[in-house]
Structure formats: C-alpha cells, structure tokens
Amino acid sequence: MKILQDTFSKRIYLILGLASIIGATQSCAPRPVYRRPPPSSSPPASSPKVPPAPAPSPVEEPPRTPLPQESKIREQDLKTKSPITPPAAKETVKPPLLAPPEPTTGPLPDDSSLLAKITPGTPPQRAASLRLTEEGRKLLEAGDAAKALSRLEKTIVIDSTNPYGYFYLAKTHYQLGRFKESLSFLDVAESRLSSEPFWLAEVHALRGENFRALGMSDKAEASYAQALRLNSGNRTANDALTRSQKPTQATSH
C-alpha cells in the first residue's frame, strides 16, 4: 500500500513538475539550447555545419546541431586523460620505515625536461609558461630562490593550468623554509598532475620533505612511500629512506 502511495505521489510530483516547467518554458522565450532538432527535419540554414558524430552505440543517433550558447566541454582535452590515480592521502597502513614499500610501478623514465614538453601543437601561453618555469627551475638550482619565485609566479599568470609552475613554486617555498605555503602549492599541483605518475611522485616526495621539515615524520613517511609506489626511481624519496636507514644501521652494528 505504502509503495503504491509513494509511486502515486512520485507520479503526481512528476506531472506537476513537468506541467510547471512546460508552463515556465512557455512563459519565457524558448531557449534553443535545450532543443534537439527532430530527426527528420534538416538543420536550420543558419546553424553551423557540423560533421556527424561517430555513433557511440549500435543505435544510430541523429546528429545534433550544437548551438552557440551551449556549455561546451573540451572533449579533445578530456579524452587524453589517463585513468584516475587512486587517492593517496588516506593511508591506513603505515609503510615500514626501513623496508621500502613494494613499488606498483618500476622506475619511470625521467620526464623532468619541461622544454621537451613543448611541441608545435602546444598552446603559446603554455609554451611561454613552460619556458619561464624552466628559467625558474634553473634559478632555483643556482640558489637564487628569490628571483626564482618572481619568475615562477609569472608562469601561473600566463598559464594558470601549468602544473609544473605550481610544483616549482612549491619547491621554491620549500627552499625558502615556507613549508605550509609549499604544501598549499603542492595541493594545487597534485590536482593538475593526476595523469602524470612521474610528476605525481615528485609531488608526493616534496610533500614528504615538507612534512619532515615540519616534524611530522609519520606523514612524511607516508608521502615518500606514495612517491615510491608511483615511481620506484624517485630520487628524493629514495634519498629520504636512505637517510632514515643510516642511523638505524649504525646502531645495529
């Protein structure tokens, strides 16, 4: 009886809702964005010509004319993304300090060259941003963190989606001893690097360094472990583990 009642009330709501929406639609100017042209009719003359979309299923779907106001998602960008990496932060089992965790991947090829990422198809702002990131990286390596910071801040002004800019900003803040700021930039870099395990490992390793500097050794260990899980060849994480092994080995002798 209750089920019947629920079904009945759902239907009533649905009908009411439908009626109200139709009423609302009629009261406003029709919004072409919602309208799908009937399969038999040809698109209006003013509509842009669009090649028919590849059929996603055996059921042939009539091509739909995209309209200028419709919210468009850049599918070409999306399809290149690789599957989501499992979340790293929620570690329930702490990895043992002296025994490095079993890496899920082997050492990844070095992908650190930013200039190699510039191809003829790279959008100009990304290319300029990558070049500036490279300059910032060099300044950082040369020990000029202040100048590097100024250069790297420009990288995200030019291209806010350049994840390497955020990563090196995090690295610069780490070198300047601003660990909390560094962690914030790493959060941003991580959300933009989820499809690049080499770089994601770098993010986790640097996060480990920050946690270590803040005296949060448990979190540091978890971050190093996560970095090695993504790339067993991650130098920062390996060095950190080697450092932590040395005093223990010394006492065992």
Binding site: L14, L16, G17, L18, A19, S20, I21, G23, A24, R31, V33, Y34, R35, R36, P39, P56, S57, V59, E61, P62, R64, P68, Q69, E70, S71, I73, R74, E75, D77, L78, K81, P83, I84, P123, P124, Q125, A127, A128, R131, L132, E135, A146, K147, L149, S150, E153, K154, I156, V157, I158, S160, T161, H173, E181, S184, F185, D187, V188, S191, S194
Partner: protein, 771 residues
Amino acid sequence: MKRPKLRIFSILVISLLIVTSSGLVFGSWYLRRLEETVTAKFEGQKWRFPSKIYSDTYLLYVGINLRSDDLLEKLRRLGYHESQSSPKRRGEYRFQPSRGLVEIYLREFSYPTEQFKGAPVRISLQGTIITKIENLATGEEMVSLELEPELITGLYDRVWEERRVVTLTEVPPLITKAILAVEDERFYDHHGIDPVSVMRAVWVNLRSGGVVQGGSTLTQQLMKNFFLSDERTFSRKVKEAVMALIAERKYSKDQILENYLNEIYLGQRGSQGIFGIWEASQFYFSKPLSDLTVGEAALLAGLVRAPNRLSPYKSLDAATKRRNVVLVKLLDNQVITRKQYEAALRESLPQREMIKVTNDAPYYVDYLRRELAENYSNDVLTAEGLKIFTSMDLQLQKIAERSLAEGLKKLEASYPALRRRGEEDNLEGAIVVLRPQTGEIKAMVGGRSYQKSQFNRVFQAKRQPGSIFKPFVYLAALMSGGEGRKKFTPATMVEDAPFKWSYDGQDWEPGNYNDEYFGTVTFRRALEKSLNSATARIAREVGIKRVSEIAHRLGVQSPLPAVPSLSLGAAEVTPLEVAYAFSTLANNGVRARPLAVKQVTDADAKVREKRDIKVDKVLTPQLAFIMNHLLRGVLDRGTADVARRWGFTRPAAGKTGTTNDYKDAWFVGYTPDLLAVVWVGFDNKAKLGLSGAQAALPIWTEFMKRATAGTPVTDFVVPPGIRIVEIDPLSGQLATPNCSYILREAFLEGEEPTKTCPLHPVASPQVSKFD
C-alpha cells in the same frame, strides 16, 4: 649745574651701552639661530622623497595575442617616443605595421630581485600574434620581455617634489658652467653676496622704474629656496643675504653648488614638480646628464629663470630664444668654441607630448595606502622615497573606470528616476577585478567620482549580496550527504513552491520574484533562474550553519548570521569579499589571497617587503568545476543570458544578485582567467528598483568585452573524476533519443543518474565518460 648735565650724559651713555649690548646679544643670538638653521639643513635631511606607486610589469611573450594599439598606448604612457628610423636611444620605438614589426629601445629599470637592462629589441607580429622577439644588441631570440611598470602616483605630504639627487662629479662641467653663466657669473669670486651684481641690479631697476633684475647670487637663491618665501620684501632680502654669508663661511663652493643643482625647480608635470638638474634632464630629454648636447645643456640652464614660461613643452619658440641667449653667454665666456656654438644653434627642439602623472586609480591608491599603513607611517611614506610595486593593470583599470562611468550614465538615461539632484545620493557603483589564480587585484573603482566621494565602495561598503550569495547554498548542498542528510546533484529535483521555515520560534516565508513558482525543478534550474523558494528549501535541507561555513571557507570574511534569510543573501559583505570568494571557484577550489601590494623597496632599491602569492586548496577541483558548470548556465540561459546577446560569448560563469527590497544590484562573473564584481546602488540605501541583470550586468559585460578582447579564449578545465552526461532537464534523468530537450550535465563520478528519462522512454541512454 654741571651735575645734571653729567647725569643726563651718563644716563644716555648707559642707555646706549644697554641698547648696544642688547642689540649685540640679540644680534649674536639671531645669527646663531640662523647659523643653526643653515647647518641643520645642510647636514640633515634636505628633501622629502615621496614614495611612488607603480603598476605591474607588462609581460610580452612569443605566441601572445597582442593588439598593437594596446602596446603603442602602453609605450606612450611609459614616455617612449616614436622614432621615424630604427630606435637609437633608450626610450624610443618604431612601429612598421606593413612589415609587422615593432622596434623598441628598452629603458633600464630595476625591479625588486631583478635588474632589467635597456636594450634594442624587435618584436615580429603575424596579424596580432607575436611570432618572434629578438634582442638586436646580441642577436639572441628571447622567450619573453617585460616593459617597466607604470608610475601611478606619488605619496607626498603637501607638494610632490620629484627629484633624484646627484653629486657634483656626476654633472658635466658644461651644465654647471652654463648655469653659472646666466645665474651667477661671479660665483667663485664672492662670499655669498655680490655687491657688483647688487649695484648693477639697482641701476637697472632704477632705470626701468620697477624690479626687473635681481642681484641675488646662487647662494642667496639656494637660501631662499631652502628656507624662505618668494615675497620680495626688504627683511626677506636681508635674511637671505645673512644666511648666504653664513653658508659661504661654513661650506665650500662645491657643496653649495651641488645643493643648488639638486634643489632648483625646473618644471611641472601635472601634480609633479620637477626639481634638480637630473630630473629635468629626464623630463625634457629622457636622457642622463652625461648624454646632453651643448644645445640641451644651454636650454636647461636657461630654464632656471622661468621654468614654466620657457618650457619647450609650452613654447618651442620661447625655449629656443632663451637657449640661444645662454649659448651666446657660453661663447662669450669661451666655454664653447664658435663651431660648437653654431652646431648648437642648429639643434632643433623636437615637439614632444608631455605625459602627466594623473593618478588614474585614486580608489586603488587609497586601498594601497590602507594596506601600507599597517607597516609604514605616513611620514615614512611621504619622505623616504619608497617604491611600491603593485598588482594593478593600468589598462584594465582604465577600462573598469570607463565601463562603470558609462554604465551608470546609461542607466540614468534609461531610467530617469535614478537621476538625483543632491550630490549625496547620486547613483553609485563599484567594480573590482581579480586574477583568480594569483589573487592579484588588477583593477578597482570604488565609486563614480573620486572628486565627489572618496568612499571606496569596493572594500568599505558593506551591502546585502542578495542572490549572489545563493551559490554558497548550492555548493553546501553538493557537499552535503551522509549523516541522514539528502545528497544533491545538479540533476536533483527540488520543489519550488511557497513554504514556511520555522526557526527559533519565528516563521520565515521566502517568496519568489513576482510570486511566480515553478513546482518541481532541477537543482540547476533553481540556480540558473535564481528561485528563492527552491534555494531556501535546499538551505533548510543542508543547514544554514553549513552554508555560512562554506561561504567563510571560500573567502567571505564578514560575520554571517546563521538565520534562514542568509540563504537569500541577508547579510552584509563588501564587493571585495564577494570577488575573493568567487575567485576560489574560478580557480578550481584554490583560494588565492587578494594581492595588491607586491613589493616595497627603499630608495636604495633594497627590498623592504615582498608579498607573495598565497594559495590554499579549500575545495576539490571536482566540486569547483561542477559549480562553475552550473554558474555557466546562468549566463548561457539563466538570469544573465542577455550578456550573450550583448556579445560576450566566451566561456564564463556568473551570478546576478538583487536584494529583496531592490536596494542593491550585483553581478559577479568570471572566465577562468579574470573575475569582476560589479555593484550598483545608492549610498543612502534608497531603492534602486532594478535587478542585478538590469543594473550591474551591462557594466560587467562591457568591462569583460573590452578587457578580454584579443586575449586567448580559455575554458574551464574538467578535472578527473567528473562525468558529463546528457540528461533531460525536465526529468533530471538520462536523456533518450526521444527527449526534446537535452543538457550536458556534470556529475561527480558515481553520482550521475542511472535511469533513463521516464518522460520520453524507449531508446538507450547516451552516456559519455570523461576522466
């Protein structure tokens, strides 16, 4: 008989002695005081150096879409001069549109942490795109180049004295000789006052029947400039002469000359007075002193007498005549040869446009002053010559000023009831522009006219936000779920019908615009159409405290009362807070602290303070994306869809805001790279009677159209973990081929609808997965 006479004589003598000794005592005391005054000036701080406020640097790089007009306008504002041939000197440029080339001889400038060297560069353009940047001096290709920041204004006490102090050794002898030749020929022969000059001046003045010539030495002029007024009185002249004698006794001729060369007033650029020989050389010729020609040196020397009347900016003829007088003097005194004299006579004075520093951003500057006041006293700011580098983009600032002024004027023309007679209740507005990724405040206009009202509505006016607060309710709803709470997605159906919300023993009944209700609508539709009733129902479901927390988390700083009406914006916030909070959404959930002051350096270019970009990830990029996707609908088909018809077609998200009593009209809108908030209303909170879409949106649209013209189109990047699904907006379920209307909706992975549209059954669902 003799005794009285003797007595009188004695009294007289004693009186005389008393008067004389008193006079001597007073005289020596007065001289001592004057000497102390002169010493204090010579050995203490002679001048106050106003702090200067600069815009952000202008970055050019290969691939940027550049409007050459913008670049040329920028160069012009920076004081670069167009040259007909390839630029040979710093501060010159040449534009060849037919060849797509811009050549600039960059000036040197020091930015904190970086020194930019002046060099000739060539920018190649293909259409409006920069294809190549070359350093012509080294032949190297450059990745990017930066143009120096623009001077916005100075922070000064009463008058703005612009000067750079130089030592005597830095001044070429020709310049000092030229000045001495026309101002004080016998400078090295007198002791502060020159009786010969005085006699000559007296003779000339007697013959002409008025004061036409002064006999002041250069030392006397310096004393007058240092301590005294311009009035021509006998007592002032005596005081000036005494001080000159004191100065000459205590200090060397070179010390006096050096002070004179740095002290003299040599022109006016708007509110900025040009003082000292170095500043004058820059002002009139954009050159260092060492590069001045004989003719230019003579012109500067000639200006000392009447800098404004004889200025080449005012009259080339008067300036040339005066220059020639000085050249004759130099020839007579054998400072220059006849050949040099004739060459100098042939030098033509170019007609140049004076670029005034007008402070185009007074409201922004006031905001900066408030920020700076936390660390620097007014005395420091007005005297120590700090350089303050800011986030301001002067181009965007001008566009914002113009859009607001024109927009308010148009509103008054369209709605005459908005025109008020009293100045106090004029229609007002404010606009603030942020770069979401960095938090940089790129532009700020706190009111319609700074002359009429200095009240900065961007950060001082707390107003009800109305419907622009609603997105916080919807975000809180998307984040809710679990613990017995309802889970919302963009396709959740919500009821839009009158209801009562009982809270703390009181009933609150939110009503829709025009009392029009839509029954059941999707979550998206409720937001796009800004439906009060549906929004309040969502807020009740989520909990008003949660809504308040979310708003604070995003960046609202004002206290938000946890009462039901908060869901419809019944709290008070500033436009800056609104901009801050929404920039977090635009920046994929990363909150970037608003940044106006970037760096402060002292007069020696030492960094006193650096404020870096500060970010905090406060929201997942997935939730931020869904909100942006929802708010995009507001522009595409919701309450702000008219912006599309007005020609703003870029991917953008936004929200209109109208308070219940029609006192405030808002619009906040953003592309992934630029966010602007516009507020319109009356300061006395009178009824405006217009919605956000009617009053604020036109201003926002005009601003965004102008601000983004020519810049690359960017879209909101879809983060992993988002599914885009085609749904039927009527049922909120997966669309079928039979659905007349479909919408591509974004969901968190796993939250997308799984059932097909019951209204248009049969066909299989169309689902595309993006991750």
